[in-house]
């Protein structure tokens, strides 16, 4: 046995637990969900092959099949959520990161404090709290009434505003992109700022000419990561709407509808098909982001 093979064998031996986990718990379920996507499966009876029917039902393939309007609505709601919450969150995270990049007393404490919402935000407790804040007789309306406003809506149960409260909840969890921005900001050499201020550049000019280009790979990374996770949002909508995606399906996220279809309506095959469509959507958007990024993202040439 030659040396190389021997070394590799050792590594594989050590990797065995992980590899088994990967094949049994990740790869196998993935392929079985691909199979289930082409079946009708109620969990209680064995799956039956239906070909492309699940996909045709989703989008409407012929004149007789209109497409699943609740599905199409959930796509719309999710896109709205992603394209509003992600940019807002990134802008907010960047602003806070720049404030945190100063040499202040107790700066470590501030950084930790501002990170807390991210640790809490995905939790059920916060979603319940959100429900109370934005309810008709919730905290927000109590405050607004104190300052003299009347005729306030029940934010969380009004189809016009419900999604907005969820976007706010997402933006509030700005901690992890903030930390990454902060690391990125500290990578930008101080000399650039010093040299530009000698040349008479103001703060705003410095931001657009140095900070943004220097940070562009980080912005891009954050954008892709946040986009992917925003597409998969589930907990907030599930708890805030009491599992219904209401009012009027206005908070019916893609993954929530997938869950309701699979576990509520016992259409596991359809739910599996939806999962693969979501994967495709995310893959296409990510590829698009990479394509566009070619012109906008500058990678430093190593000092």
């Amino acid at each position: 046995m030659n040396k190389k093979l021997r070394e590799n064998l050792t590594s594989y031996a050590f990797l065995t637990p992980w590899l088994l986990g990967f094949f049994i718990l990740t790869l196998y379920p993935m392929f079985s969900s691909l199979y289930l996507a082409f079946t009708q499966y109620s969990l209680r009876q064995p799956p039956t092959w239906v070909g492309l029917r699940n996909f045709i039902t989703m989008f409407g393939g012929s004149e007789t099949i209109m497409g699943d309007e609740r599905f199409l609505n959930s796509v719309g709601v999710t896109f709205k959520f992603v394209f509003l919450s992600v940019p807002l969150k990134l802008i907010f995270a960047l602003v806070v990161a720049m404030l945190m990049n100063k040499k202040l007393k107790l700066i470590g404490l501030y950084r930790a404090l501002y990170y807390i919402p991210t640790l809490l935000g995905g939790s059920v407790a916060i979603a319940v709290l959100w429900r109370r804040i934005f309810a008709g007789d919730g905290l927000l309306n109590l405050i607004l009434m104190k300052i003299g406003m009347t005729d306030l809506p029940a934010w969380i149960s009004n189809p016009k505003y419900a999604l907005g409260t969820l976007i706010l909840l997402a933006v509030w969890q700005f901690g992890s992109p903030m930390i990454i921005f902060l690391a990125g900001l500290q990578q930008i050499p101080k000399e650039y700022y010093e040299a530009s201020s000698v040349d008479g550049a103001g703060k705003i000019r410095q931001f657009f000419a140095i900070t943004l280009p220097g940070l562009s790979p980080i912005i891009f990374f954050n954008l892709v990561m946040q986009m992917v996770s925003a597409f998969q949002s589930f907990t907030q909508a599930f708890i805030v709407s009491g599992g219904s995606g209401g009012p009027l399906d206005s908070t019916m996220f893609y993954s929530l509808y997938l869950y309701i279809k699979g576990f509520g309506f016992s259409e596991m095959g359809y739910a599996a098909a939806m999962a693969w469509v979501l994967l495709l959507i995310i893959a296409v958007l990510t590829a698009f982001a990479f394509k566009v990024s070619g012109n906008l993202v500058t990678y430093g040439s190593g000092e």
Partner: protein
């Protein structure tokens, strides 16, 4: 080389040990005498179920009963479906009207009827309701009836006379108008009944009242037309436009899945829809006094019905069948258990349990209602197939009308289409 072999065999041994443990642990856990009892409910139901368990365990040393509770029926079935699909289902599964959907996965109790399970004490109608194709699949937890419930304390505080038990729809509307004029701002005479997302029962009552029942299983057809469904939407549009039910965004703030998310318990409305067995749980969640009245128009049409509240069913893969059946027998037939459990899962269908009498004033109200409304009821109508999807979508259509997205005519059409789709699915 030896070293590598040792390391890899160690790793493999470790991994197989981990997996073998996982495999071996499961059946062992089921065989150690623990009975897993899955049900849905909150508050009072959890407390009294635990009390019944404690009593049973103290009488039967060595038996351990492990409740697995979900807040609502929806969550319960999500959990149970997943456990069943994974071969790890609980021993006792609480079922509702969807017992037929599950008849393949639950055990026939015929072999135990008359021995471990005393069926002679249980009413024939209750046995019949749990029997599918000649096999006893579910043991009725008791009977229940749809009802309206009013908040006596709130109405008295507003200085309005209490509603009569039996009313016509015209009298009922007048009463709501009277209530509206006296109730404080921000509170409303009645819950917007269509907004009970988990249940189409109130709509089901209305269709029976109009002589157009939702579904007939024998002919696989519905009597509900677009025009018939529109009448229901029009009725509540009138209530909504006149402030007799809350505006849609207020109503949508209450999920109405249990007492914790109920507009009635929150003091937002004075009258709400409940099944009789829910009264004790709701009463336990408020200091206000709750009382029953009938759905309007029931006296003339006999549109109400009695239904089995829930069933105790046994998982056909249970490893502990005999102990499980004994425990179910205790829950339904034992007088002491009956006193503890009250009417929370329905008024008992067992004569030996009933002999124990009402355990509380609330239970007495339930028994009185069942007695008084018995003559205003007729046979239960079949459930629309694909119950969960039907309720969820009906709720969505109802909200579209309530929020003014579509008019009642379009809403009626969508409801009729929905029922057709559920039937032909």
């Amino acid at each position: 080389m030896k070293k590598i072999l040792m390391i890899s065999s160690l790793a493999i041994a470790l991994v197989t040990a981990v997996f073998a443990n996982g495999k071996a642990a499961a059946p062992a856990a089921e065989n150690d005498g623990t009975i897993r009892w899955a049900y849905w409910g909150s508050g009072e139901r959890v407390e009294i179920s635990q009390k019944a368990i404690d009593l049973y365990e103290s009488r039967n040393p060595g038996v351990k009963i492990n409740p697995e509770v979900s807040g609502g029926a929806g969550d319960h079935f999500v959990k149970v479906d997943t456990q069943l699909a994974g071969g790890m289902g609980p021993d006792i599964i609480q079922m509702g009207g969807n017992i037929y959907d599950y008849s393949d996965v639950i055990l026939s109790l015929n072999a135990y009827a008359g021995t471990l399970l005393d069926v002679d004490a249980i009413d024939d109608s209750a046995i019949e309701s749990g029997t599918i194709n000649g096999e006893l699949k579910g043991v009725s937890t008791g009977v229940t009836m749809p009802a309206l419930v009013y908040n006596k304390t709130m109405i008295e505080k507003a200085g309005v006379p209490l509603p009569s038990f039996t009313m016509t729809y015209a009298e009922f509307r007048n009463y709501l108008v009277l209530l509206k004029s006296k109730l404080p701002a921000g509170t409303y005479p009645m819950q917007d009944i269509g907004v009970t997302s988990s249940s189409s029962t109130a709509f089901g009552y209305w269709t029976r009242f109009n002589g157009t029942p939702l579904y007939d299983g024998d002919t696989n057809s519905t009597a509900v037309t677009a025009a018939a469904a529109q009448k229901y939407l029009d009725l509540f549009k009138d209530y909504r436009d006149n402030g007799l039910v809350p505006p849609p965004d207020v109503a949508a703030g209450f999920a109405e899945s249990n007492a914790d998310t109920s507009a009635l318990i929150a003091g937002k409305v004075a009258i709400a829809f409940l099944f009789t067995n829910q009264l004790s749980g709701y009463q336990a969640a408020t200091t206000d006094e709750l009382n029953f009245l009938e759905f309007p128009g029931a006296a003339a049409t006999k549109a109400l019905w009695q239904a089995p509240s829930q069933f105790y069913t046994v998982n056909k893969d249970s490893k502990n069948i005999e102990e499980t059946v004994k425990f179910i027998n205790f829950l339904v037939n034992d007088p002491e258990a009956a006193k503890i459990l009250g009417s929370n899962r329905g008024a008992s269908a067992s004569s030996s349990a009933r002999a124990a009498g009402a355990g509380s004033a609330t239970d007495q109200k339930v028994f009185d209602y069942l007695e008084k409304s018995k003559d205003h009821a007729s046979m239960e109508t079949d459930h629309v197939p694909n119950d969960t999807e039907f309720n969820s979508t009906l709720f969505l259509i109802y909200q579209r009308v309530a929020f003014g997205q579509i008019d009642t005519k379009e809403g009626g059409k969508q409801v009729a289409d929905l029922i057709q789709r559920m039937i032909s699915k």
